[in-house]
Symmetry: C2
Subunit: 218 residues, 2 copies
Amino acid sequence: MTHAILTTVADRPGMLSSLTRVLADHDANITYVDIHSGAPTLGIYFEVSLPEGGSTIERVLADLLGVPGVERAEETPSFSRIYGKRIVVMGGGAQVGLVAMGAIAEADRHNIRGERISIDTIPLVGEQELAGAVRAVVRLPRVQMLVLAGSLMGGEITEAVKEVQARGLKVISLNQAGSVPDVADLVVSDPTQAGVMAVMAIAETAKFDLARQTKRRY
Amino acid sequence: MTHAILTTVADRPGMLSSLTRVLADHDANITYVDIHSGAPTLGIYFEVSLPEGGSTIERVLADLLGVPGVERAEETPSFSRIYGKRIVVMGGGAQVGLVAMGAIAEADRHNIRGERISIDTIPLVGEQELAGAVRAVVRLPRVQMLVLAGSLMGGEITEAVKEVQARGLKVISLNQAGSVPDVADLVVSDPTQAGVMAVMAIAETAKFDLARQTKRRY
């Protein structure tokens, strides 16, 4: 059973360590954690799954409240339920904007039917900057698709794409100069359609299967 | 001194607890933490600041590597350096798309000059859904501005806006029906301009000062 827990704690060293110790003692598997700074208290948010037949969430919350420095510990709606799956769009401002437009319009149609899909973007230029941002995507939570929206992408960016693909991330590229389209899972010429297809590929409410489109160009 | 650390660890309970124990022993202040699931190993990413004259990062990495189950521990570029400040845009698909277009085009101009600004969006309808998403924004890392893009927002959403404002978040609203514009820090009629102003308000490279525009309507 998965639970989201929000704690409010004193801003001093060792708090995260004390809280995770309590969670470990209850065999809670921590799938997400997040620190939100504020003064004089910090918010520390966890998503945990508790083993069946093990501790109840009430018991875990009570033990968290027993840690010195913890002011509050309560259940809260999870990010997965609120912001859902993420698509990240990066590249040149003109194209990123149009891909985002397509993706947002399509996500709207699915979110109305109960999906939760967010579209996150960063306009960014430069081979090293983009390669760094691509590599970092797999460290962000809940990301299911990367769209590379530009006019020329290759070199180190292509290497970064191969690395994140090896870790299971799907990558759509606009049809553009450079070697990125050669390695992308799907290549699309029209930025609006690229955004729409990115959403269709991850929406449970859509019939589009990226596996059947792999390496195709539109 | 701030450092970003990426560890690769065995996927078993208690790993986060063991790692944070080591960081606490070095008086490292953890400002960000993130778990990226994978099989059979997990990636756990930290941003920490170490006290001046205290442990070196090399020493901390060596001790992290000494924890049973830790396969790798190394320094890595930080998310703040890669994705920077975030603006979150939420509301109806049509307006969210246009606000995003304006914000992405403007962020592009600043990111070229060394800023790092990301635009994150979620198309979402419904009073309870939006109120929940607004409240959760302050639990997301690096968010500096919320833009509410819709045609009718009030009730519980307005209460949620007041709560996040009390925690220091700035909120721009489109000029729309409902009570949200009455409490927003700035109200803008044109969605493209709302996106542009949101970026200008948080960019170090811009001259726009939201404090001087508070409660104005454009």
